[in-house]
Symmetry: C2
Amino acid sequence: MQTSAHDQYFRSDDHNHARCRREAVATAATLCAQRGARLTPLRRQVLELVWARHAPVLAYDLLDQLRARQRRAAPPTVYRALDFLLEQGLIHRIESMNAYVGCVDPFVEHAGQFLICNRCRSVAELDDAEIGEAVKAQATAAGFQVMRPTVEIRGICSACAR
Amino acid sequence: MQTSAHDQYFRSDDHNHARCRREAVATAATLCAQRGARLTPLRRQVLELVWARHAPVLAYDLLDQLRARQRRAAPPTVYRALDFLLEQGLIHRIESMNAYVGCVDPFVEHAGQFLICNRCRSVAELDDAEIGEAVKAQATAAGFQVMRPTVEIRGICSACAR
DNA sequence: TCATGTTATGTTATATTATAACATTGGAGG
DNA sequence: CCTCCAATGTTATAATATAACATAACATGA
C-alpha cells in the first residue's frame, strides 16, 4: 500500500476502519473504567455509531440509527449519550456543522483543531502547538483567559482535490 | 479616560458605541454603493440591530426587535438580511453561538478570529497573521485547501476577570 | 411612460437541532 | 434485600433555519 505525507492527517479510503473503531471503543472502555465512569451499552453504541467514519455525524442521524437497531430512542437519548462522551473527551463537537466526531487522542484533554473537507466531510484532527501558541499569544495580549478554543478549518482535502 | 493595552481588543464599557454603529452603517453604505449591492432599509435596519453591541446577536432576537419596531417580519425576513450582510462581509457568523456580530473591518474579505467572553458576551475580532499562518502551515502539510477557517476562542475577558 | 424582467420582501408551512420536565428502571453499596 | 443515585424512557416544547410560492418594488430599455 502506498503512503504519502498527507496520510498522517486524513485516512486513506482503504485504511482498516473497523480497527479504528474497535480500538477507539476499547480505549474508551479502559479510560472510563479508570475514571469510574460508566460506559453503558447505550453510550458504547452511540460511540460506535459516531465512529462509523472519520467524519462528523448528526445527532438525529444517530437517533435514526439507534431506532433502526431496535432501540427505543428519543432525542434526549442521543443528546445525553453525546453529553457523556463529550465530558469524557471521547468525542468532539464540530460547531460549524452541529455534528460530532470521535476523538483520536482521548487520553489527554484537549479542544482539538479540525480540518474538515466540504466534499467528503472527512475530518483530520490536529493538536498543533503553533496554532495553540499563536492563539494563546493573542489571548494574553488581550488579557483574555481562554476556556474553550474552537478551530474548525473547512475546505477541500487532498483526495477530493485530485 | 484611562486606557490600557487591552483596549485595542475589547472596547471599554464607556466607549462611544453610538459612533461605532454609525460608522459601521456608513461604511456599509459606501461599500455597497461601490459594489452595486443594495443596502435596503430592511438590511440597514438589521445591520444596525446587529451593531447594538460588540457582541453576537441571535437571529430570533433580531426578529423580535424588528417586530417591536412595527415591521412585518418572519424568520426569512431576518435570515435573508443576514445572508446578504454575510455575503457582503459586513457581519460574521459566530458558529459556536449561532449568532451574528458586526465586522470591524469590512473593506477586505477575511474570516476573522474571535475572542468571546462567556460572561459579558463581548467579542474582540482579530485577524492575526500568526494564527493564520500556523493554520495555513498545517493545511499545507495535509494537502488541504482552506476555504473557510473558523476560529472562535471562548473564555473570560479582562474586564469580567477583574 | 410603461412594459418587462429581476431582485427583494411577504407569507405560510415545515425542517432541523436541542432541551425541559417528570416518570421509570436498574445498578452499586450499605 | 433496601435504598439511593445514576441512567434511561417519555412527552412536550423551545430554538434555529429553510422551502416554496406570492407579491411588491425597482431598474432599465423600448
